[in-house]
Every structure is written in C-alpha cells, then in structure tokens.
Amino acid sequence: MSPVVAAGRRPLPVGLTRSRKTKDRVFTFFLLVCVALALIPLVVIAVFVIVRGTGAINTNFFTKLPPGPLDARHTGGISNAIVGSGMIVWLAVVISVPLGMATAVYLSEYGRGRIATIVRFTANTLLATPSIIAGLVIAATVVTWTHSFSAYAGSLALSILMWPVVTRATEEVLRLVPQDLREGALALGVPRWKVVLKIVIPTAGSGIVTGVMLAISRGLGETAAILLTALGNSFMNTAYGRPTSTITLDIYTWARQPQATLQELAWGGAITLMTTVLVLSITARIVSIRRQRRLA
C-alpha cells in the first residue's frame, strides 16, 4: 500500500499517526481556549458590575441628585439621569416606532421595484452608521440652530439610530406572516390597507413588540450620540428644551472623576442600566417564544 500523492502535495502518512493525533488534540485544546476567552470577559464584567454596582445602590441613589463639587464625601444619586433617560428614550420611541413600522410595512407589503431597493439599502446603510455620526449631525444642525443642547436633540439623534432597527426587525416578522392569510382576506374583498392593519400587523404583533424592545435597549444604552446633543446636566431637568443627563452619560462622566464616591455613582448607573436592558431583552425573548408556540 503506497501513500496517495495529491498534485503538488507531499505524500501523507498512512494510518492515524502520532502527529495527526497530536494536531487533533492541540486543535481541541484551542477550541476550549476559545470558549474560555469568550466567557472570561462576560464573567468579569458581570462580577464587577454586580459587586461594585450593588454596593452603590440604596434609596438615595434613585431619589437624590449627584453631589456638588464641594460635598463629594456624600454619595448622592442619579435621579435626574433616570428621569432624563426616560424622557429622551420615550420621545425617540414616539418618533421612531411609527416611522420604522410604516417603512417596514412598505418594504414587506408594497415594496417592489427601484424605490424599495433604495429604501432597503438606506436602512442597511443607516444600521452600519456609527452612532457618533448621528450625534455629530444633530449637533451641527439642531443644537447649533437652537443655540442649546437639549433633550429634543438627544431624542432626534436616537431616532436616526432606532428607526432602521425598528424597520429591519418589523420587516422580518411581517414577512413571516403566511401569504395565505393575505390572499384569503383579499379574495373576500377586503381592501389592501385593511388587510395590513387588521390582519398582517395583529398576526405579527408580538414579533413587532420584540423589535420595539430591541430598539429601546439600543436607545437606553447609547452614549456617544447623546453626549453631543443632550450634553448632560447635574440638576433635575424635566424640560425637553434644556440640557439633560441620561444614565449612560452619568456613567461616562462619573467614571472619569478621581473621587471614589463619584466613581461609585458610575457603577450604580451601570447595574441599573444592565438590569433594565436585561429585563427588556428577557421580556422580548419570552414574548417571541410565546408567539412561536402559538404559531406552531
């Protein structure tokens, strides 16, 4: 039995030689190392955020304002940032969800031809746009024209980022709605717009909710775009026209202060943010699992 010679390759050894076995073992070891390298950062992040974050959490954290420069010995709270995050993300949802859903309906129900191709390409392009760009553009326009950083501007910047997220997610679930349903309704004489509103969207309902929650998580976790538009504020602010802080901005700001009490605020903000995002994504997951069960 002579070793087979493939074109341009040296003869290969016959049988399961020791070197082949060793290579396979080394490779298996490499795969395990990959698993470890993926899990270690996650564990480190979780442990530090939980340990240092829970240390910072108390009732003051949710009800008080950050300490001023002269009383850094007292740990305050980030109540203003929690309110600010709520305000900015709420307005961004009000703007981007209807627009995003309408765009998705267009793409999945009517979208054929050149316009649809351009719209779909635009949505994908905006998804690939770095978030700082959205902030930069709003800062160079809205913030410059109004001569003020504002929660409005923050919401607008977030809307640019959330709109394509909602569109992409909604389009995907709308496409999963069986074609038979649409055709059945159309055959009964139901007008097209009514089919979309009364049949397609309700059927896709929970899937759309998942997409919206995804967009909210994205908005809550965004920092760069908000830094250039809403700036931040160490006082309580409920006016949309004024500079406003968010949880992410507070983490960014306080993390870089030398005082340990202020850094503690950053860790508290991190655990608040992570818990919120986690609850949102678990809810989204439960909703979509229920939906799959119902469809099955």
Binding site: V4, R9, L16, R20, D24, V26, F27, T28, F30, L31, V35, L37, A38, L39, P41, L42, V44, I45, V49, A102, T103, V105, Y106, L107, Y110, G111, I115, V119, T122, A123, T125, L126, T129, P130, I132, I133, A134, L136, V137, A140, I160, W163, T167, R192, W193, L197, S217, T223, A224, L227, L228, I251, Y252, A255, R256, Q263, A270, L273, M274, V277
Partner: protein
Amino acid sequence: MVGVTVTTGILLVGVLGVVLAVLATGGASTFSKFGLGFLTSTRWDPPHQEFGALPFVFGTLVTSFVALALSVPVAVGLAVLLNEPISMRITGPLATFIDVLAAIPSVVFGLVGLFVIAPWLEQHVEPVLHTVVGWIPVVGSLFPVLARNEQGRIVGAGGDYFVAGVVLAIMILPIVTALSREVVATVPRELREGAKALGATRYEMVRLAVLPYSAQGIAGAAFLGLGRALGETIAVSMVIGGGSSLGASLFAPGQSIASAIASQFNGATNPLQRSSLLALGVILVALSFGLAALSKWFVGRGMRRMDVSSADPVDPGPTQQVTAEAA
C-alpha cells in the same frame, strides 16, 4: 396606505441624504483649506488653526486591527465548535452567553475597561509582551519597555491603543462569531461527513473541508467586525488614553477618529475646528460604509461559490485533498 408608507420610506432615504450633506458641507472648509494634506498631516493643533487627521486615523486603524487580530481566531474557533453536533448541551448555553455579551451597552465596556481591564493589561500583560516580542527589530518597537515608578509599578496612562484594541476585541466578538457561525453552517453536510467517513480527525475535517469552504465568508465576517470596531466611540474614548499626537507604539495613549469627535466637538468654538471634526466624520463614514460593502461582497461571493462548486464535478476543491489526506 401605499402613499403613507412609501412616504416614510422616502423620508428615511432623506434622513441619510441629510446626514451625508451635513457632514460634507460642514467639512468642506477644512477640505478646501488643507486638501489631501488633511489626511496626511500629523499636526492637530486647534490654537494654531492647524488640523491634520492622521493621528486619529492611525488610532482608529491600529485599535481596530488589534481588535480584529485578537477576535477573529477566537470567533472562528467558536463558530466551528457551535457547528459541531457533538455537544448540544454546551453549544446552546454558549450561544446564549455570547448573545448576552452583545447586549451589554458600550459605556459599560468602557467602565469595566477603565477600572479593570486597563490596569491589568498595563501591569501584567504589556511587560510580558515587551519581553516576548520587544527584541524583534522594527516590530519590537511597537512593544516598548514601560516606565516604572520608584516602587517598581508601571506608570500607566489609564489606557492606550493596545487596551482599546483588547476592549474592542471583546465587543466585536459576538457579531463576528454570529456571522462566522452562519457561514460555517453552510458547509455541505456531505463534505464534513465524507471527511469523517474517510478517517479524518476533527482537525483535518476543519482544516481541509470546513475552512477552505468558508474562508471568504469568514473574511466577510471579519470586515463586518472591523466596521463595528472603527465606529465604536464611548468605550474607546474611555480606554484609549487621549491626546492629539501620533503615538509611537501600541502602548502609547492616543485618540481614534470617533473618540476625537466625542471629546472635542462640544468644546470646539472656532469654525475651522468644528469643520475639521465634521471632516473627520466624513472619513469615518467613508471607512465604515466601505467596509460594510466589502463585507457584504465577501459573504455573498462565499455563498455563491459554495453553490457552484458543490454542483461542479471537476472542481479541484477541498474534496480531493480530504481523500488524499485520509487515504
């Protein structure tokens, strides 16, 4: 209904148009004043009205490539493992854990990067890297010896290009893994099973059947990760150290394009500096759109190649090599 929805579609296109127009008109005075010199000048000096983008472009590229070099091998390993049928009980939770990593907001990566990862890398990893590769000519100068204080502790700058690269590597790992996993999943089953049946070990199956088939798709995944890394702002600006000069090594503090925009735009009062920051935005957008397109092209090509070659009997592809190896 058509009218309303198509209007929103066109509005979305308008938004992208406005974004590009604002960047282009805003950056115009910088481009007309410095021309291409804006890209090649290393001097970013606002008080003297001198603006060159090179330090930031360098920072962006160097951190992104460190991130890519560290995360792609791990992502490919995970993609291979997640497609192995041996261990469903492991792969399910593993995929979930990686998804969770993707859901962490970037400012939290920045926070943990600043307080945990940066000090650890500066004290323990960078000196080791210097000892291991610092002696090599040319390449070694990227890994210089680090300054120590009287107690023998290394004086860290609170971040540098290398730290930013490592943090970015962690951040892009989920997306690169997810796409590589999809690509590896498209390798025809007959090929994997054929290799196994011919007596190939798992390594040989991956090396000779899986990787040659998914190489282009994996390149696409890498470009997607690179695009993400280029645009990442907050986490990078927290761990890259800062400063406006061109760092001479991986262990030097610097700025990336995105972190320079984030840290300077709010305080930029003179028009030329604002214009230069918008011009940096133009460069960033061009880089990230270019990479997104490149990624799509590679993934698409990889997929198409698979269809063609599995149907083509005379293709001198990986099948023959597997036969040879196992014979």
